[in-house]
Symmetry: C2
Subunit: 454 residues, 2 copies
């Protein structure tokens, strides 16, 4: 923290050299939970989820091992379709999944508690493009990725370094995970997410954090959290199952997340979406506990509604807020941490639409007691773009320390601010021996197979 | 409604001639209330409000009649300062103030229910400037005023025509209320607000609605709702008291609203603001009931927090949301409708900042069960500006029917939309005899005294 304090003291606002309070590592919620549904109404949704699990079942694709594990636990297998006796998934989860857990950062002061009354704010994940006022929209590169890791590291209001902050498309698909995980370790000291695009890439992520934290520490503690999306409706694919198994086996956290655009991959009604999402989520979460009881697992929700006029996903709507609220209440009843979020919007620029829709979603996350708030900062254009300016605005909104502005458009102010931040950036300390070991590992692994973009 | 249906049928989206559902006259809340404080905690704030009323008291300036009325009811008078025995104001209000009431519009299908689980969305109030992309910022005129009445009339998501949508500074201060009230009657058929800038202007407003609705109807029904601001901290001025008395005597609704920038006119803490605001509000509301028991009265809240760095008011912050939530819960316990809102922001353009802050406040109004949501649409630059483009964006947000957009800035799309709306505008029907009587009344009254700008 010495460096952090030094940087702050240099700022004009702190010129009187007063002690600057340290930013909290995460948010502790002090206001009551809010559920738009009653306990009776939530029970109906849970019953319906069990009916889906029992009668329709969930497809576990291209993964015989997963089918065998689920079969041994009492599920019935029909090809790749798995049907679960009522209550089976819930019991497996409640028997061993932790209600909350610590994800350790390499700087212990940055470790976060995921679950309970805590909220961890995480930058956006996955955009193949970046957007800024100078260049407009273009494909993202590893340089952009590093920039966003640095900006996140410097933002007190973001508690976590995230995962694929943007997709570095200038690097081969089968090797870019090395550079992403290394960037999170090298340019930040906050907790971060691992690769999920193949089982071996998940294993590479685990091997890299073992270099940083040591083998035994990693086996006993959560240092990685990773995003496992269902292929909604009612399916998981082999890639996601492969990554899920690696992380669960290594006692690392997974966020099992039905990916739902209501009206496309699910019914249009909030109640229907909530039931389907719970069924998918419980099936995936149960598998983690069967692989390694006690491995941290988070119930994730990515929910938008489709515009029934254009077929496009919509963001920041009350429908999405209702679905999030219901799923949050279901997660509390199940007893697992809840992931949702974030600064969603369909805008193509960091304009008023982006602001309205992002704020609507962030407010919904507060109303839904979200624990792990992915996509807090930077999300633009339905997630296709990571915006430099919106990142700055979202991060400020997250801490409600809004930039004092003149008469210029807010995006222009944010444009100046992100450039200033990048120019002020200083590396957090990293043991040179660990750095060298990581670079050696990456080189050796990268050289051991040909580059590929599939 | 025949005209309304005709206009809709002609729209491109309705070219298949299907029946378009009529927009509801107001919103009926179907989700539970949410209070961030427990009943015990709210009781503490009520106790503190009674302590303020008992020990500090409220100044009723320049109004001997108000002092006499309050004295007769049991308050103690010390110069212009009035101190109330504990529980006195609450009892007076609960004895006769309606929990909810109908405000009649001249089109009965547009009448609104204020209070209970209902929410009425109302445009912004009071800005002396307008802002649009073509001209930037300039003083507002009566032409702008008429434009905003028309735009509000055409917006299904706004349920009420509002009051001083913008200040027509091209007209004399002492006569512009005639043109404002007339514009609400002439260019719209939704319910609206009366003048409060002098007792006689309030009376003119009442006289004008009597021409439209008839004397007896007005005496027995609410057709006007008007904004009575306290001169916080702990004072009402003679102008506001004069208007309050006219409206209460005529059985018309008032919205008694402490006007608080926390840190300036009140403590910085949410609990302190809530106690002071409740004390001021109850004192004013009690006076309405002493003047005419049963006259509709609404507990209003205009709360922002001051930036302790710059002294500027801030908008869309969690602090303001907390204060609104607490005051909403206090209004429900008191048993009167609650006014707050709206699309607040400190932005100078309809940019991302405007969007974030406006959405944050609108979300807070939903969490606070606001009944009469003033400032829903158009508010810009801390209320100094009424923005044409933001009006369109806010109104769309209010109905969550977002404009489908291309790659242009949302404000540019809104710029086109407001112009199209104004060009499509058609007058609602108005009995020519009533129109003539109103114009005669206005001419006679305007000619009876000299123009003045004080």
């Amino acid at each position: 923290m010495a460096r952090e304090r030094r940087r702050r003291r240099r700022g004009p606002a702190e010129s009187d050299a007063q002690e600057v309070p340290k930013a909290p590592a995460y948010i502790k919620r002090k206001i009551p939970h809010y559920s738009i549904l009653s306990d009776d109404e939530l029970s109906v949704i849970e019953e319906n989820a069990d009916t889906i699990l029992e009668e329709v079942g969930i497809v576990f694709s291209e993964d015989q091992e997963a089918l065998d594990i689920l079969s041994s636990a009492g599920a019935s297998i029909d090809g790749e379709r798995v049907r679960f006796p009522r209550g089976m998934c819930r019991k497996i989860i409640q028997d061993s999944a932790p209600k909350e857990f610590i994800q350790h950062a390499r700087n212990p002061e940055r470790s976060v508690v995921i679950g309970g009354d805590n909220m961890v704010l995480v930058p956006a994940y996955g955009p193949p493009f970046i957007h800024n006022l100078d260049e407009g929209r273009r494909y993202a590169t590893i340089e952009d990725f590093r920039n966003f890791v640095k900006l996140t590291y410097m933002s007190d209001n973001l508690h976590h370094s995230g995962g694929t902050i943007c997709e570095p498309v200038d690097l081969p698909v089968n090797k870019r995970h090395f550079d992403m995980v290394y960037s999170h370790i090298k340019y930040s000291d906050k907790a971060f997410m691992g690769s999920v695009t193949a089982a071996e890439r998940a294993q590479d992520s685990v091997d890299m954090v073992k270099i940083v934290f040591g083998d035994e520490f990693v086996d006993n503690n959560c240092v990685l959290i990773s995003l496992i999306n269902a292929s909604s409706p009612m399916a998981f694919d082999g890639t996601m199952l492969g990554a899920l198994k690696v992380y669960a086996r290594n006692n690392q956290a997974t966020v099992v997340t039905p990916f739902i655009v209501a009206g496309a991959m699910a019914p249009v009604t909030a109640a229907g979406v909530a039931a389907q999402s719970l069924a998918e989520g419980m099936a995936g979460m149960a598998l983690t506990q069967l692989i390694r009881p006690g491995a941290p697992v988070v119930y994730g929700n990515f929910v938008t509604a489709m515009s029934m006029k254009s077929g496009a996903p919509t963001f920041g709507t009350p429908e999405a807020g209702h679905m999030m609220n219901i799923s949050g209440a279901l997660a509390r009843r199940l007893g697992v941490p809840f992931r949702s979020g974030g600064g969603f919007n369909g805008a193509k620029m960091p304009d008023a639409q982006a602001g309205y829709e992002a704020a609507n979603t962030i407010q919904a996350t507060i109303n839904s007691s979200v624990n792990f708030n992915l996509h807090t900062a930077g999300w633009l254009e339905g997630g296709l773009c990571m915006s430099y300016e919106k990142f700055v605005m979202d991060a400020d909104q997250a801490g409600m320390m809004w930039v004092e502005n003149g008469s210029r458009d807010t995006a222009m102010i944010a444009n100046e601010k992100y450039k200033q931040m990048l120019s002020d950036y200083e590396l957090p300390p990293l043991d040179p021996a660990i750095d060298e070991a990581l670079l050696d590992f990456i080189k050796e692994r990268k050289d051991s197979f040909e580059d590929s973009n599939i």
